[in-house]
């Protein structure tokens, strides 16, 4: 057993069961048959686990930072856990810059995912936490605060932190108190049926500045999560060690936990690189099994860019150039080069997964798709006309468009600037109810979709026996699920003559823009071992006037945006679209995946709203991303030949 894993499993270490641990690593790395894990899920949640029949998805954010994250706390985020939950539930809070902030519609769930590295540093000092004050410096700070000399304490604190900040926070007792507070506040706001708080944190590994971050989400309550300490990148930067920790958590404590990678676009070509991090050797079946088991979903859109695909990877996809942020890695240290791109984007990884499955027998990149905010200001917001930014400096102001979020230490061209940021994204979860277990189970079975921040609703089922009539019935989802599988599911080998077809529904955000089209993105592996992709338009607005061109593509929906006034009208597009689509080029011997992408009509971005609202016509550039076509991506359905 790796000792850092044991250290994080507190209760075990404390109760002296540590002697039992050596057997654990082999157990955790052993094969997990899909049957076993499926049986496990059913035992926990009944038949619902196979299919969420409810007619509405739950919208939430799986990736929010508060002042407890050291980078957020030190960069001026004052709002903490309470404000984060209150804001997410729809309450009005005073923002970091002193403005009144509220969502137009509350979120259904929230995962506060603060960085586990130096978790709570700023907060603990501010609150003079007794564990921190055991040091002489802590005591000094405390005394100054009590004497009303807050400012002097602040100077002292700043000087101390400049000397290197790990020392105090690597104090496990302090970390314990912050983690338990995190869990306690989550517990307080967890109100199943109305609003769910899932307990989680972010593992912040970025060797050389390449983003390998994972949001870690527990299915369990405080009673169980209090028994561990977050496994951080200080413990190990190797994701396989994180998985070992997760496996130990599950087998030793009986809980469930999953991890969500994000920002492959800032990973210097490492997020989906099929190599062991340490040895740089090609991955093996064990790696693939662990990755598939612990990383069922990937965050493909957020403020720092969208990671579905890249124009270089999908030159035939005219909608691929959406919110691409990829000049360098996260630290602004290493410029991105073309050979890195294939290992940074989800669609390409899904394709490579088919190849690797052929080779290894297990698909390491078998994941569903979600979006989330990664906001660092305790304010999870994604509406273009009500965007509270990614950090305190990006809260609404006439200057925020000029902000530099991440300043490169190398070269200004590698800076991550506000102009590149999107007011993205959200996670849509087709769960059987709004609770920790139901939401987590839906994430684990990948019955989820991601949006660029809009609350458009998308649903897809795949099967062999659909007539197409099902789509017209009010309870279509029930019949579709009875005869097929939902997003995230697997289609088993087709019998002679069988061809898969898909039932798809999409409905606009009631507070948003009409829909342009529904597309299916298909990826497949041919007999020579090469992968391919194709995007099919399967349903679109004004179908009588918009007919496919010679290239087989549906022409643009046009635009109703007035950029200067930051307005649009729903005079184009459709309020809802449905489709029954049969794969015209199905080959029963080829591995494949299918996922749905839904596009809205063009709308103004937050930059256009700022330009109009703050009257910045003279200052802001004439050319900037002032409009975009917001969108949703569902998790894939995989086809598995015999």
């Amino acid at each position: 057993m790796r000792d850092f894993v044991a250290r994080r499993l507190r209760s075990l270490a404390l109760t002296g069961v540590i002697a039992l641990l050596p057997g654990l690593a082999s157990c955790a790395n052993g094969p997990i048959s899909p049957l076993e894990s499926k049986a496990n899920a059913s035992a926990q949640t009944g038949l619902e686990a196979q299919c969420a029949i409810g007619n509405r998805p739950f919208f939430g954010d799986t990736h929010l930072h508060t002042a407890l994250s050291p980078d957020a706390g030190l960069a001026g985020t004052k709002l903490g856990l309470d404000e984060a939950y209150r804001f997410a539930r729809g309450e009005t809070v005073t923002s970091n810059s002193g403005q009144q902030a509220a969502l137009k519609r509350p979120l259904d769930f929230l995962v506060v995912a603060d960085h586990s590295e130096n978790l709570g540093l700023a907060q603990g000092l501010e609150a003079s936490n007794p564990e921190l004050l055991k040091s002489s410096l802590g005591q000094q700070l405390h005394d100054l605060l009590k004497a009303g000399k807050g400012r002097e304490a602040f100077y002292l604190l700043v000087q101390w932190m400049a000397k290197g900040s790990e020392a105090l926070v690597s104090n496990d007792a302090y970390l314990t108190s912050v983690w338990e507070m995190n869990n306690a506040v989550a517990e307080r706001y967890n109100n199943p049926g109305t609003f769910t708080s899932l307990i989680g944190y972010e593992w912040t590994s970025q060797p050389g500045g390449g983003n390998l971050h994972r949001v870690v989400i527990f299915r369990d309550d405080k009673a169980l999560t209090d028994r561990i300490l977050p496994f951080s990148a200080f413990d190990s930067e190797d994701v396989e060690d994180l998985w070992a920790f997760m496996a130990a958590y599950e087998s030793q404590l009986g809980g469930r936990v999953l991890a969500i990678p994000h920002n492959g676009n800032l990973s210097s070509g490492t997020m989906f690189l099929p190599q062991h991090q340490k040895s740089r050797m090609a991955i093996d079946a064990d790696y693939a099994r662990m990755r598939q088991r612990f990383e069922p979903i990937t965050e493909v859109t957020q403020a720092k860019g969208t990671g579905e695909t890249h124009p270089l990877l999908s030159p035939e996809d005219e909608f691929a150039n959406f919110n691409i942020v990829d000049n360098s890695n996260l630290g602004g240290i290493k410029p991105t080069t073309p050979e890195m791109i294939p290992y940074e984007y989800a669609r390409e990884a899904l394709r490579r997964g088919l190849q690797l499955e052929q080779e290894l027998g297990v698909n390491p990149f078998k994941f569903g798709l979600i979006g989330s905010t990664d906001s660092h200001s305790s304010l999870p917001s994604t509406a273009e006309d009500n965007w509270w930014g990614k950090s305190p400096a990006l809260e609404p102001s006439p200057e925020r468009w000029k902000d530099v979020l991440i300043k490169s230490s190398k070269d200004a061209s590698l800076d991550l600037t506000a102009l590149q940021l999107g007011a993205s994204g959200l996670a849509g979860v087709w769960a059987s109810g709004n609770s920790r277990t139901a939401l987590w189970d839906a994430m684990a079975r990948k019955e989820v979709f991601g949006t660029s921040g809009t609350r458009l609703t998308a649903r897809v089922y795949g099967g062999y026996d659909y007539t197409g009539e099902e789509i017209n019935s009010a309870d279509w989802a029930k019949s579709a699920c009875a005869k097929g599988v939902p997003m995230g599911g697997d289609l088993m080998a087709a019998a002679e003559g069988q061809v898969p077809s898909f039932l798809i529904q999409a409905r606009k955000d009631p507070d948003g823009a009409n829909l342009d089209r529904i597309q299916i993105v298909k990826g497949w592996l041919d007999a020579s071992g090469q992968t391919h992709e194709q995007v099919f338009d399967v349903s679109w607005s004004d179908a009588d006037q918009r007919t496919r061109g010679a290239d087989g593509k549906v022409p643009s929906v046009g635009s109703s945006v007035n950029v200067r006034e930051a307005t649009y009208t729903n005079t184009i597009g459709a309020t809802n679209l449905t489709a029954h689509w049969t794969d015209p080029s199905f080959d029963p011997s080829q591995k494949a995946f299918y996922y749905v992408r839904v596009l809205e009509i063009p709308t103004p971005t937050w930059l256009a709203y700022d330009r109009k609202n703050f009257n910045l016509y003279d200052e802001m550039p004439d050319k900037a991303p002032y409009t975009s076509q917001e969108r949703a991506y569902t998790s894939p359905i995989w086809y598995n030949p015999a």
């Binding site: 030190l74 005073t94 000087q159 307080r188 630290g331 409905r507 507070d511 809802n576 449905t578």
Partner: protein, 284 residues
């Protein structure tokens, strides 16, 4: 890039990954250092500062800097120091909105540490609950049916069809399946039972929801508009929202009370600081 813009970049602390926080704070320290604004001609990179830079470098690169790299770090530090001092001597910091906002934020952050937050007594909480009843009232619950009419399908016929369907539904009440009459609307049910107002806003938009709550009970009325088109509706019941007893919302009231306290105390601290100044301003 203008001189001023360059300074913006220099003065700003980016949100950076935690591993670069040490380095950023070093810049912050230089910024706050009392010597900085004196225009002293001496710039010293102390051993302590050098050690900090090395540490930050090591955490970023996972190796110590070479001699050359270390020299670059020092040079960069000196450059920042020189430009910051010159900028401050020119007073460029004073009229810079971003600098001013950051200073204000830091001061509020300092003040925040001095707040003394306590727990309220039940009596205080009861008072708070009554004084802010609107914050704690439960939502109205609506039971209704709806038939969707899609303008994209029906165009000019929509109002005529609506009138006909409405008459049919009202005369033939129970025998008719309302969902068979209208147009499909993806993933929206026809029958809703005791649904929260906020949920209806999430599904239909606020225009529809507000209108729905105004409709008479028991018979088919409309059409009323939503984000999707037009709807005939029959509202069977609306359970009004109510103010729950304190026991049921104790935590929420406590939180809200504390949030108010925090704001009041922050305001009080500001008033104390303000008292040190005499302020004159033009009549607005």
């Amino acid at each position: 890039m203008s001189w001023r813009e360059r300074l913006h970049l220099l003065l700003k602390e980016p949100i950076i990954p935690f591993l670069m926080v040490g380095a950023a704070l070093f810049g912050l320290q230089a910024f706050w250092s009392p010597g900085g604004s004196q225009g002293s001609a001496e710039i010293v990179v102390s051993d302590e500062q050098a050690a900090t830079m090395v540490k930050a470098f090591v955490r970023t690169w996972q190796r110590p800097p070479s001699q050359e790299e270390l020299q670059r770090l020092f040079d960069d530090h000196v450059r920042t120091e020189v430009l910051v001092r010159e900028a401050m001597a020119l007073g460029l910091d004073r009229n810079d909105t971003i600098v001013r906002r950051r200073l204000r934020q830091k001061m509020e952050f300092v003040n925040e540490g001095e707040l003394k937050l306590s727990l309220a007594s039940n009596q205080e909480l009861q008072g708070h609950l009554m004084a802010h009843a609107d914050r704690f009232r439960s939502e109205p619950l609506v039971s209704f049916e709806q038939v969707f009419l899609d303008p994209a399908r029906r165009g000019d016929r929509l109002n005529r069809d609506a009138a006909a369907f409405k008459a049919q539904l009202n005369s033939n009440g129970q025998g008719l399946n309302p969902s068979a009459l209208g147009d499909p609307l993806a993933m929206i049910e026809s029958r809703w039972s005791e649904e929260r107002r906020s949920e209806l806003v999430a599904q239909f938009g606020s225009t529809f929801t507000d209108a729905l709550l105004e409709q008479p009970r028991g018979s088919w009325v409309g059409p009323i508009p939503s984000a999707y088109g037009m709807h005939l509706v029959r509202v069977s019941a609306v359970k009004p929202g109510a103010l729950p007893p304190l026991e049921q919302v104790l935590d929420a009231v406590q939180r809200d009370w504390q949030a108010d306290q925090r704001q009041d105390q922050q305001e009080e601290l500001y008033r104390q600081l303000l008292a040190k100044y005499s302020v004159r301003m033009p009549q607005p």
